[in-house]
Amino acid sequence: MSRDRFTFIVGGKAGEGIKKAGSSAANFFASMGRHVFQMDDYPSLIRGGHNFVAVSTATREITSHFMKADLVVGLDKRSYEAHRDHVADGGVVVYNSDAVEDGQGIGVAMTSEAQKYPNPGLRVGVSGAAALSAVIGLSVDEMSAFITKEYKRDLENNIPFATDIYRAVGEKAGGKFPLDKGDRERIMMTGNQAIALGAAAAGLDVYLAYPMTPATTVLHYLAAHDRELGVVTMQPESELAVINMALGAAAAGARTAVGTSGGGFALMEEAISLAGMAEVPILTILSARSGPSTGVPTYTEQGDLRFALSPGHGEFARTLASPGTVREAYTLAAELLELAWRFQSPAVLLTEKHLSESRMTLDLDIEDAAWAEPLMHEGGGYKRYLDTEDGVSPLLFPPSDELIQWTSYEHDELGVTTEDAAAIALMHDKRQRKSEAVTDHLRTMRTVNRFGQGDTIIFTYGSTTMSVLEALRVGGIDATVVQPVYLEPFPVWELEEYRDSNAIVVEQSAAGQFESLLAEKARIDAGARIRRYDGRPFEPEELAREIERAAG
């Protein structure tokens, strides 16, 4: 039976090649022209534990993985036990019979088979691609081509091993779920790749970061491609060094960004305030994990919203926005770097592990990216903090005959420290006018996304948007989804019509931070709420049922 939607879950110990098995399957589906969503679930360790990847694919747009799989492949006992209930009606479970006695499904002696070849520990992960190939009805040649493309190395062992597994699975479930080809092949990337590319497309020159999951792969991606892109990357000694070096780099004229998670962002706050006072353009990528504190490093949550709305002490213009999809991560990273430079102030891109590290197919127009181009001073008589109508003073970078002084102290227009009452008030007024200018500018931009039609109004934001949209698709639910992309300044001008909408608010927060923000800023009182805060992203079928219940 051909299924429009197909889900593959592969699980095992860290180090067994689970991520590779998942991403290989995702790549294969994408190569068929299908839409794909890949979610990696892994603990904070390097060896052992339990990893799994859920890959869902469809011939129509898909914005979430599902947790009811048509094919579950468990490489060890723990993954069999964890996922045997995650099989859809009529689905297939392939388990490692060397590790599990009396399993339900198709037992294959993966470990013993792997021991016929060198490096059996590395080999066993190839079982995922082999079992998948059998179940979707590939020929041995097609499977070999798939493995060759994805695994590239050690093919003289990988292909015979895979063929053994393929035959064992094929006897019981060969060709059970043939998959239709999709309309055309799309690129596939993670949210963090999209953020890195979007910032690069906007003119990024320097990226600095201290490793912290789930933001780290932005650094990895840019470091791997620094020379191809012309972006300098560096890993300094701490988040304090990261942000302060970044402000120095920006003040010298380099389009600069930094990336971290909640704990690192907390360390950066003093310098975010410095960026407000000194009027330094800086983009920060804040990718949230389950918190507070060290929390659950490799799992997702939207618990940092209130924190991200107002980083740093004192009064200055802050800009915060959160992308709803991987595609939007690209355009928004570019847009926020542009805004940081337009207004010479800190901009923060808030996202979550679920978007940062999930991978999906997308239609991406590379040209659809803003370009960060600051207002530059010309001629003599330079004043770094020239008092202007919109509070934005033209920039100038050394080397220059002009004196260019950036400062953390309250200052006069030239940047010289002041304690004069009138001068203090003048600069506060200048910064306030700049805050207003940011809001005025956002009024000319698209700051809120709306999806679908229906009397039921659902408010959500960030990566949860993807879960909600998939829930509506799978549940066949008519609803209007409202997703504020910008969270500070909050686009209240777009939201007045929803004041009495009895909206359902969906978010990954125990305290309901987004719901309270809607009430405080836009005076929208939620009629119902759906929250998840166990570190896992919403599952679309479960969420659909919750939405139906909430809608009454």
């Binding site: 590319l197 497309a201 020159d205 302060n244 003040a251 010298a252 310098a271 050394p398 080397p399």
Partner: protein, 279 residues
């Protein structure tokens, strides 16, 4: 002759403060660097927070008046963005060896091509006289009324151990020599550390002691161990270049002849690179 490096800011250092000498030395440094082909517009400065940092307002050079303990991080960022600039970072001893000690150790470790001048007065003067990282054991201040229970850091030893490729000590009474040290530090390719003995006349007036113990060091030590031994001397305090070696600076090691600011692409160029990457 008008002082082109002066500003209109009111000078609020105590009369006799060692910071005046550092300010004057810097004015000479700018001229001397010009003679060596480094024009004034290529010299930028950063400062931390404290009495030392007021120099930023009194000296007409471009730069960034940073946060307490972050002057050397800001300086490294400027250098990373535009390696054609010569960056001099001013720090107090609290900036360098309390709040910002990790940045100091790492700037030395990675051999970032900046020059750090530490105004070492052994006290937190601007906050009214608390003990600092180089205050002596027993030092009495408002936060340690019964005396400092900690021993002081030896900044030169720390910087040598961390890998600094230019380590020097100056003394504010020797202004001409101090200017020469800063010039040598700026011209050195790599991390240059200059400790400046800078008495605070109000809190740590050690002029008399320093006048007795500071001795001119004519030439750098020939080995690392010899430099360490010199740095550990306490009866006499050598002033001059302790140690200088050649080693690739971090910026050059990272990206060779690239210059992030000068090589900033056009939009068309950059989009072409992004497209090529995701192909």
């Amino acid at each position: 002759m008008p002082d082109e490096l002066a500003t209109y800011a009111e000078n609020t250092w105590c009369p006799g403060c060692g910071n005046f000498a550092i300010l004057n030395a810097m004015k000479n440094v700018v001229g001397k660097l010009g003679e060596r082909g480094v024009a004034k517009d290529r010299v930028v400065m950063t400062a931390g927070i404290g009495c030392h940092a007021k120099l930023f307002d009194y000296l007409a050079l471009s730069g960034f008046y940073s946060l307490h303990g972050r002057s050397m991080a800001t300086a490294q960022g400027i250098k990373l963005a535009n390696p054609d600039l010569k960056v001099v970072g001013f720090c107090g001893d609290g900036d360098a060896f309390a709040e910002g000690i990790a940045h100091m150790m790492y700037a030395a470790k990675r051999n970032s091509d900046i020059t750090i001048v530490v105004h070492d007065n052994g006290v937190y003067a601007l906050t009214t006289g608390q003990r600092g990282p180089t205050s002596a054991h027993g030092f009495k201040g408002p936060s340690t009324p019964r005396g400092n229970t900690e021993d002081p850091f030896n900044p030169l030893v720390l910087m040598l151990e961390a890998g600094a490729t230019f380590v020097a000590r100056g003394y504010v009474v020797m202004v001409k020599e101090l200017a020469d040290l800063i010039v040598a530090g700026v011209m050195h390719e790599g991390f240059s550390f200059i400790q400046v003995l800078q008495p605070s006349v109000t809190f740590t007036n050690r002029y008399e002691e320093y006048n007795r113990t500071v001795e001119r060091l004519e030439e750098p030590a020939s080995t690392f161990d010899e430099a360490l031994a010199l740095a550990r001397e306490t009866d006499r305090l050598p002033a001059g270049i302790f140690y200088q070696i050649e080693k690739p600076a971090n910026e050059r090691a990272l990206y060779g002849d690239w210059n992030p600011v000068a090589n900033h692409p056009t939009r068309t160029e950059r989009l072409a690179k992004v497209k090529a990457l995701i192909k």
